[in-house]
């Protein structure tokens, strides 16, 4: 018994609130951040009610007609695959909104010091309005059933995040904003080319109709074109170049959304659009993809070890984690793919904690360079614990949920590898050994930042205010609870994928 129109409301509530937030923000200034959390709380309640209803399988969909003569329907679907994606995105957006209130205040103060111009209220207003648009884009991408609608939300994610980097980023924000936009946009138009070709093969724009592509001579090209769009978003090796710049120079709350929430949507989309409907086509590429995934994983890990700037370090770590997710997808097995989606959730919460910690360090300590930090555990105990938990989550240490997700991924990889060729087996073994890289860079960084002697210039560092640490504590709580009780997630994922594959 679900609330009627709940899916449409999930999209409409933030969309309609965005202009309201803008106008309120021009009056209220920085306090409007609290107002902006309201739509996200409403959507979270809606999604939670759907989650309760879906327990044990099944799906819930709504469909509205858009332009039926042109083959466009506006359909919204939530099932076992997407429910946890929605929950993750929503919780992340909500908590980061709370986090941004303090962080952006600090950021604008910094800029006032720099330029001497007081920050107008419209800066806060447009930040939160764009933030809500971004949230709608991400939620919409996960919910759609129609390919053109999917492309609409996919690009809708792009424009607000570009505007946010362009206006509120660090460093050469304009150049980097354009770099981010162009890379992802070129990937997206190749995706569009694939979608349009598939329309001529199957005659419909529905995602379910993509199964009809299998068997046509263009199937391989179409699958590849669609996948390129998602790979650019996921920043696999070779097309990853934009990620360290964009995530490094975006304002930290936005990095916290870009990295965990958005790039993983590429993985979800790959599952929904390619793996499930066009499974035979995808399975033929399995070996190549697992090799590519391993390359991404190792490259990200090694580059992360070499970084001094904490945000670029986390960005490369994201590249490496996307490699894990890609590995899970490449295995094309039930456990592997569900592990990949589960790892999206893990990485979402874990990386969010880490970017949050990075933001705390930037605002409290005043520097982004790891070299200049040290021994901060005394002064910032909560932050240190959070950082450790974050790294444990993505590193796969029990009792965090990272352990379960990695277990699933490797389970899937090995099940395919044992049934396949020796190259696949080799890739699987090497990838397990390479997990040591993740743990390595995590612990080394924690040691450098939080332990060891406290340098002179950091003697007055204080702990971060509650509004910044509370969201991160919420994430850590999720991580541990799901780690101990992974049934919460797997109950939805596994049955769905068992059926679909």
């Amino acid at each position: 018994m679900a609330i009627p129109y709940s899916l449409a409301l999930v999209l409409l509530v933030p969309l309609v609130s965005a202009p309201i937030v803008y106008f309120l923000g021009k009056q209220m200034g920085k306090k409007v951040g609290w107002v902006a959390t309201l739509p996200l709380i409403i959507t979270l309640l809606l999604i939670a009610s759907l989650a309760v209803e879906l327990n044990g399988g099944g799906s819930y969909s709504e469909s509205y007609s858009w332009a039926p003569d042109a083959g466009l329907t506006f359909g919204l679907l939530v099932d076992g695959l997407s429910i946890w994606m929605l929950i993750t995105i929503n919780v992340l957006c909500l908590m980061i909104c709370v986090y941004s209130v303090t962080y952006m205040e600090h950021r604008f103060e910094e800029e006032e010091h720099h330029t001497g111009v007081p920050t107008p209220n419209s800066s806060y207003a447009s930040y939160y309005a764009l933030y809500l648009f971004y949230a709608v884009g991400m939620l919409g991408t996960v919910l759609t059933t129609n390919l053109i609608q999917f492309y609409l939300f996919y690009e809708l994610m792009l424009v607000p995040s570009w505007a946010l980097i362009n206006n509120y980023g660090y460093g050469e924000k304009e150049r980097i904003g354009m770099m981010y936009f162009m890379w992802t946009h070129v990937g997206a138009v190749i995706l569009l080319a694939g979608i349009l070709s598939s329309f001529w093969v199957t005659g419909s724009f529905e995602i379910a109709a993509l199964a009809g592509v299998v068997g046509s001579p263009m199937a391989g090209w179409i699958a590849f074109a669609i996948l390129i769009g998602f790979f650019t978003k996921m920043a696999v090796f070779g097309i990853h170049i934009w990620l360290p710049y964009a995530h490094g120079e975006a304002p930290t709350p936005i990095s916290a959304l870009l990295s965990p929430a958005m790039i993983g949507i590429g993985a979800y989309a790959a599952t929904r659009l390619v793996i499930i409907p066009m499974f035979p086509v995808f399975a033929t590429f399995s070996t190549v993809f697992s090799f590519w995934a391993l390359l991404t994983m190792v490259y990200g890990g090694l580059m992360a070890l070499a970084q001094d700037d904490i945000k670029r370090f986390l960005a490369y770590s994201s590249v490496s984690q996307m490699g894990y997710i890609f590995l899970g997808l490449a295995s094309a097995a039930e456990y592997g793919v569900s592990g990949a989606i589960f790892h999206y959730v893990t990485h979402g919460f874990g990386k969010c904690i880490l970017f949050g910690v990075a933001g705390i360090l930037m605002s409290q300590v005043g520097t982004r360079s790891i070299k200049e930090m040290g021994g901060l555990a005394d002064r910032m105990p909560i932050t240190a614990v959070l950082c450790l938990l974050g790294f444990f989550t993505i590193g796969g240490v029990p009792p965090t949920m990272g352990f379960m997700s990695k277990f699933f991924i490797f389970s899937g990889t090995f099940s395919t590898a044992l049934a396949g060729s020796t190259t696949q087996l080799l890739v699987a073994v090497v990838s397990i050994i390479m997990t040591v890289l993740t743990v390595g860079y995590s612990l080394w960084t924690v040691r450098r930042i939080f332990f060891g002697p406290l340098p002179e210039h950091l003697k007055d560092v204080k702990e971060a205010p509650l509004t910044m640490t509370l969201p991160l504590l919420v994430f850590a709580l999720f991580s541990v609870i799901i780690g101990i009780y992974p049934k919460l997630v797997t109950d939805y994922l596994l049955p769905f994928l068992a059926n679909a594959l």
Binding site: Y151, L156, V189, A193, L196, S197, F199
Partner: protein, 502 residues
């Protein structure tokens, strides 16, 4: 099912209104100067455009009833005499012309306030719209040519309107010479058609010439037609007049030129090519021209520093996308072409109007010196932002809807490589649109001040921005209209022929 109305001089109602409106506008202008009432001629212009819009609506009803409406001009029945043949496609195009003309007329009340010779301005604008309406309603080649030249003449003078500066005159002269040459090519093509069939009537040509085997004369005909219509539509390499003409013309005229004059050229090309040749024949040459136009224009646009010149090159690139729809040659392809014609008129028209407001307030066209304009002219910048998103093909705007239809048509008719080139060019074009957006969103330099534009200009730009977003979210009615327009062209060919030849 068709009546051939022939009683003396008989013109379709919208055309009659525009022509009479133009003539009387001259007199009203002189009157207003004599009696000193300031806004009389502007109000007359608004009345004329609104009346035209209403008459198109009524004409549409007669066309829907009759299928195809044939109006012969001089009492001589076609195929001997000239005629107008009006089907849904003509209604679609004349509707686009009238809508954009009305909005631009509203805008220029405020924009051209301080200029002199306004009587000539409004008269010429009315005649230009009359010419365009005549072109889209023409039923034979010579009627098309007469109104084509009317449209051209008015636009030459309008481009060179601000004659105290050198720029407009050079641009106007270059435009005139190139367009006149194209006119000569058109006469040559008419001669070839006449030599081959003995008539210039479209229906008779479609009956006789269509599907003929490719011979040197057919190739000569095709090339002269492409050159003749291509100069006005700004197909590369015949586009060189456009980057000079559009920036130098006054902003409302740039909006009209970019928004609908070059599209009328494309309409004429589409109509004549479709009626004279089998689509399979011109698929590859037009596809080749499409790629050339898109790529060259996008690359040149990246190098521009003047905002109106950048928008002019962007128009050329958009013409390239429209040529993709023409190359596809199917009902779907033509539907995409006409849909994009209307959407582009809204988007590019509004982009020129909004940048016209900006230039009006700040006095400069250089992009880098306009940095931070978003903070000072928020409403205009928001409208310009939406127009640029639409031109780049970002979903949520009507530009995306028509662009994806164009690329889809390319994939559907076997020209997959053309579709890929199209999407990549679309992505490339975002690069220079983002450059303008960055300038809009940036922070202003010291001492840079500008006021928001006058309320009338604001209303027009906001209304067009609203149209862009609404049509992007709810495109169904427009898509239906464009589909019926394209069906009347492609599938209604036999009705078209039958209407005249019986």
């Amino acid at each position: 099912m068709v009546d051939i109305i022939s009683q003396g001089i008989n013109l379709p109602l919208p055309l009659l209104m525009l022509l009479l409106g133009g003539l009387t506008s001259l007199m009203v202008g002189l009157l207003s100067e004599r009696i000193g009432v300031a806004k009389l001629r502007e109000v007359w212009m608004i009345i004329v455009s609104a009346a035209t819009l209403t008459s198109i609506y009524y004409l549409n009803q007669s066309v829907q009833k009759a299928g195809v409406l044939v109006i012969s001009i001089w009492g001589q029945l076609p195929p001997l005499g000239g005629c107008f043949e009006i089907d849904t496609l003509s209604i679609f195009m004349s509707g686009s012309i009238a809508v954009l003309g009305f909005l631009v007329a509203l805008y220029s009340i405020s924009y051209m306030e301080k200029e002199s010779r306004l009587t000539e301005f409004y008269t010429l604008m009315t005649f230009m719209m009359a010419g365009m309406t005549g072109v889209v309603m023409a039923g034979d080649m010579f009627t098309l040519f007469v109104f084509w030249e009317l449209m051209g003449l008015s636009s030459y003078v309008l481009v060179a309107f601000l004659k105290s500066k050198w720029g407009p005159i050079e641009a106007g002269f270059k435009y005139l010479v190139m367009s006149a040459t194209a006119g000569a090519f058109l006469i040559l093509s008419m001669a070839i058609i006449y030599g081959m069939t003995g008539t210039l009537n479209f229906a008779a040509i479609a009956d006789n010439l269509r599907g003929a085997a490719v011979s040197p004369w057919i190739i000569a005909l095709f090339s002269t037609l492409v050159v003749g219509f291509g100069v006005k539509s700004a197909i590369v390499p015949l586009h060189t007049w456009l980057p000079d003409a559009h920036p130098e013309a006054p902003s409302p005229i740039s909006a009209l030129l970019s928004g609908i004059v070059i599209e009328t050229g494309l309409y004429a090309l589409a109509r004549v090519l479709f009626l004279t040749f089998d689509p399979g024949m011109f698929k590859l040459p037009i596809a080749f021209l499409a790629v050339l136009t898109m790529t060259l224009a996008n690359v040149m646009a990246l190098l521009q520093t003047d905002i109106k010149r950048l928008l002019a090159y962007s128009s050329i690139a958009q013409v390239g996308y429209m040529l993709i729809g023409l190359a596809a040659g199917t009902t779907y392809g033509f539907m995409a072409l006409f849909l994009h014609i209307f959407n582009h008129s809204m988007m590019k028209g509004m982009a020129f109007l909004a940048s016209g407001s900006i230039v009006h307030e700040t006095g400069t066209r250089d992009i880098s010196s306009l940095r931070g304009i978003g903070k000072m002219m928020p409403v205009t910048s928001l409208s310009l932002f939406i127009a640029l998103l639409g031109l780049g093909g970002v979903p949520g705007t009507n530009g995306f809807i028509s662009k994806y239809h164009l690329f889809s048509a390319a994939f559907g008719s076997g020209l997959g490589w053309l579709g890929i080139m199209g999407v990549l060019n679309s992505a490339l074009s975002m690069a220079y649109y983002i450059r303008i957006m960055q300038v809009l969103l940036g922070s202003p330099k010291e001492g840079f001040k500008a006021n928001e534009a006058p309320i009338l200009m604001l209303t027009v730009t906001m209304a067009m921005a609203a149209i862009i977003v609404i049509l992007g979210i709810w495109p169904a009615p427009l898509i239906n209209f464009a589909t019926s327009a394209s069906q009347s062209l492609v599938e209604g060919l036999s009705t078209y022929i039958g209407a005249v030849l019986g």
